[in-house]
Symmetry: C2
Subunit: 616 residues, 2 copies
């Protein structure tokens, strides 16, 4: 399952000796530096002392076993042929079922915009190409020929995302031939092709390198969790997130839409949810915005997986029941002192004793299905139920006693399980389907003593969010549950900031560096706990951004480039660790920035220009 | 010296019950929420259950002893009078010396743009005010009358930054009267006035509150260090940094322009410095850009303090000497293994044995003086000299022996001191001044055994960057040195990320939360080590952003809002700690975002809307 990044013999791609584009410094003096690929590394050298040096971009594109590709493909060979061309000389030819023609055309437009963005003066779709170019550059055509054999238009766990990409080049034209079984594989191929292209600094043109690639993901579930309840996240930020996911071949945006803090989703049949629960009238998602976002995601190879966390992690947005004559739909909402009723302020849980709560929940599911269908999975949340909250509600404890359930912890666990069963039934009703995969976070319900009583392994996938040495991982794997990893000690991207209640640092500090993210291998974790990699049960994983301390201003830099480290782990699952991936990873960060993502800087630019020299 | 934030009796400013501006959600249902100031806190309540609630912005502007002001002024009284007005109804009248008329006009323009930015739909100077307004709002005028008595046009350690601001209001107009001894005090008053203004959500107008304020800073040096060598920082990012500094009344941008990594400054007489040293021809500062930036800073109350770190922390940019017939200007440049020659890759130090080095250094100072004058201070850097680097250079060790200096550590310290003496003389020559304050980082040279031999307390200010319990603090204070604090355990804003050499977290982890930044009191540190606050010697401090792991994408979020926590510590030096400041600080972060700064989010929006409830 592993793919290794190893140094290969240097390619020699010599293009220029004058390395400066027109700019302030040029008026004074030319840069004395160039680059040469030596043993898979770009080495900065002085032009005066070495002939035939290339530009930095040229070197990065062609040096090493996989050039600038991220994530590393299953099989890749980058050739010693490089051509210059201009962006208006791209010709697409797609051979595909009618169902996917529009998707391919949109993916082609995205591809075009992505390569325009390589120009250092890109601005909002426009770049000032100035030349002058030689005749061969001006006339060189890039033909992109795509053959898609399947007609799937939505992505699920069984989607064939594999592709082949063959780029050959001659004096007059370059041909990129894509073969894929689905649109989703084909758009991955276009993404890979865009990474075989770069801006050539001295000729103000694009360059493309010849290559042969066969590629498919190791894990079918490669995701990001984004929380839009602790802080509101604008549609523009969600779109940037999807742009970067597409650039990294991640395929699932797990949208933790709601929580106790706020309810930003405007639902036609339940307007009070957002009226009471949105932070303001400007901090909401409308029906049209969500549906558009679903499409925005799809053409980038991503499906939206909605979560409605319950029965805990609900609160604001649910306060209108009493005034509507439905009683209290939730209890402990914003209750103080919060420490007694929940894990963080504000508190809130659904009111088990109120049948109207189920009525509203069922209607909510109907709305969610309308928004997000087709859905092959749904995330029920299901984490961090506080039994004291329920028991402190007189309505609930009276109801527990009246129904002879008792009020001990075991009794509440049982009712939680009843809730989950009912929630699943309501969701299935909403979809009209016989079966759908639910996802649940690990919790008291998934603990060894409750697991088999309360959670059916054919109905639910378990998302592991505790640390990689938590015995629950063994408990669920050895009992045959499918799992998704997001263990917080590696894949929680909110960790390491200052505290937001009290002082010091937040609960899951320290910050998880990209090296930690990269080296977190689900198969290795499973093996160390169970003696088996459990490749049949591990669907993949996701990077998790809870937004207590993030909003539009910093979501990009918390998600990226670290989520791209997870992306290579899940797409390629390399046998090697972070050290072998550092140079292309830092380069991928630069690519994300060019695509408008405010990704965190990992190292000084000097390290980017002097590969391998920032070591310990 | 302390000013306390305490809760005061709530002001009652009742303005509206319909809290929703026109937006998607409005079509469905109105928000049920409003706010009421109770014991200095804005409390969210349901309109159906409580009459006379106000909007969130209204409540924030007027609730508590100092409303939304940051940093807290010396004396402040916010009145129970609030007026609505439109931005075109502002009338400036400045009474000031001719020298400062242009500065005041520019500060007025900045003020106007800042209050336009309160509109949630502000975009690039424009906002779609829509109304309808009632007649009193449409006709209400804000008169801003400024009296500036002094003619100072540049800021230094003796500048009087104090101001008085009196805002009174009647049915027809509001008068804001500013009295200040300098332009710098007057622009602070305009900043404070802008914080007495907010957008009123339900009437789509601005609101201003009556107040009386007297204000002056506790510390004369309130800065930010920004490093533009590890990674290049665009002029746009430097400008945003200056915008946010003005918003927080910080007055010094300590510009760590160069280091071993790169030399981004284009100098007319020394073009090779940037040619060899810039990361690329696009990653440079031209003469015009720097001069414009100096002016951009000045109108925002900030002076640029340039640093040319030497004799260590030089390298890239200095490699051209040999080819120019000047010999090696620097040694150990990019030398490997770096661990033997410097603290982080890449290495480099000036070549003590080469007289041409001093020639170039002198010329560099001439260029810096041209760019940055008038200068009352200059930062010589002077940290982290590696004696092994010098001794490993045959040229230097031969020179040491030939001149009978010896080659032991003491000998190198002596030559370092000689270098520093010579550098100071060259700098004074460049300025033509008799005297100028130099600044030096704490280093081996400032250790107790060297301090009085090598560093003259009338010539140098010492910048303390080690931890707050470092005995060097006592050493310098008890010997009468003036100091600037930037102790890394509180004021290094780069800490807490992943490592950039090796794995794990970076050297000064953990991340310094704003609470740590806020509570770091130079007087308290001095008192705990020496038994005296040394108010005569402590000039102030600065938040420090070394950019190994930051560039345009994340400089905003690393600097802000944490630098604003330092700003209140240095402007106001409150007797109270972070807890009392939390609500206005979080609000100031929101203000910075409105001004285009991508400041880090500290808490869920829920905490902002439910003041005081996110506690531990």
């Amino acid at each position: 399952m592993g793919r290794a990044r190893t140094a290969v013999q240097a390619l020699t791609v010599v293009l220029a000796t004058n390395l400066l584009a027109a700019h302030a410094l040029d008026d004074l003096v030319s840069s004395p530096w160039g680059w040469q690929c030596e043993f898979g590394r770009c080495v900065k050298k002085e032009i005066a002392h070495q002939e035939g040096l290339s530009t930095l971009n040229t070197c990065k594109l062609t040096c090493g076993s996989s050039g600038a590709l991220w994530p590393i493909p299953s099989q890749v060979k980058i050739e010693d042929q490089l051509s210059l061309f201009l962006p208006n000389n791209i010709d697409f030819q797609f051979n595909c079922p009618n169902e996917v023609v529009n998707l391919m055309n949109e993916a082609g437009d995205i591809f075009k915009d992505n390569i325009l963005r390589y120009h250092p003066e890109y601005s909002d779709g426009h770049v000032p190409w100035t030349g002058p170019w030689d005749a061969s550059t001006e006339s060189h055509i890039l033909y992109v020929n795509g053959l898609v054999t399947g007609d799937a238009v939505s992505l699920n766990l069984n989607t064939d995302e594999s592709y082949q990409l063959n780029v050959t080049t001659s004096d007059d034209f370059t041909t990129a031939t894509i073969v894929a079984a689905s649109f989703f594989g084909a758009r991955h191929a276009l993404e890979t092709l865009s990474q075989l292209i770069e801006y050539h600094e001295t000729s103000d043109a694009l360059m493309v390198v010849a290559a042969q690639i066969e590629d498919s993901p190791v894990f079918p579930y490669r995701g990001i969790l984004l929380d839009t309840s602790r802080n509101f996240v604008s549609v523009a930020t969600l779109e940037r997130t999807l742009d970067a996911m597409g650039a990294s071949k991640l395929n699932t945006l797990h949208w933790h839409i709601t929580d106790t803090h706020s309810f930003p989703l405007v639902l036609e049949s339940l307007p009070n949810m957002a009226a009471y629960g949105a932070y303001s009238s400007r901090q909401v998602y409308t029906f049209k915005q969500v549906v558009d976002l679903k499409e925005y995601a799809r053409v980038r190879g991503v499906r939206l997986l909605p979560e409605l966390d319950a029965p805990a992690h609900v609160g604001n947005g649910w306060q209108w029941g009493h005034e509507a004559g439905l009683g209290d739909l939730a209890v402990c909402v914003n209750q103080e002192p919060w420490q007694e009723y929940c894990v963080e302020p504000p508190c809130g849980q659904l009111n088990l004793a109120n049948p109207s709560m189920y009525h509203v929940l069922g209607q909510l599911y109907v709305e969610l299905v309308k928004l997000f269908s087709p859905l092959d999975m749904f995330h029920f949340g299901g984490d961090e139920v506080n039994m004291h909250c329920w028991n402190a509600s007189k309505e609930i404890s009276d109801w527990m006693i009246e129904n002879d359930f008792g009020v001990d912890e075991e009794a509440y666990f049982k009712q939680w399980a009843v809730f989950q069963q009912r929630a699943r039934e309501l969701f299935l009703e909403a979809t009209g389907e016989e079966e759908i995969q639910g996802v649940l976070f690990t919790s008291g319900l998934t603990a060894a003593e409750n697991l088999e009583n309360y959670v059916n392994s054919s109905q639910y996938i378990i998302q592991i969010w505790t640390a990689k040495d938590d015995p629950v991982i063994k408990d669920v794997l050895t009992r045959g549950y499918k799992v998704i990893f997001s263990n917080y000690d590696a894949w929680y991207l909110d960790c390491g900031m200052g505290a937001w209640v009290g002082e010091g640092n937040n609960w899951c500090s320290p910050y998880k560096g990209w090296q930690t993210v990269y080296d977190n291998s689900p198969y290795d974790i499973a093996y160390s706990l169970t003696g088996s990699q459990h490749t049949d049960l591990i669907l993949g994983g996701e990077a998790t951004l809870w937004t207590e301390q993030a909003d539009d201003a910093t979501i990009d830099s918390k998600l990226w480039p670290r989520s791209a480290a997870l992306a290579e782990r899940l797409w390629s699952n390399p046998a090697s660790g972070w050290y072998a991936a550092e140079t292309p990873f830092v380069n991928h960060r630069q690519r994300l920035v060019k695509r408008g993502i405010q990704a965190e800087r990992l190292q000084p630019e000097w390290c980017h220009q002097n590969e391998g020299l920032c070591y310990l």
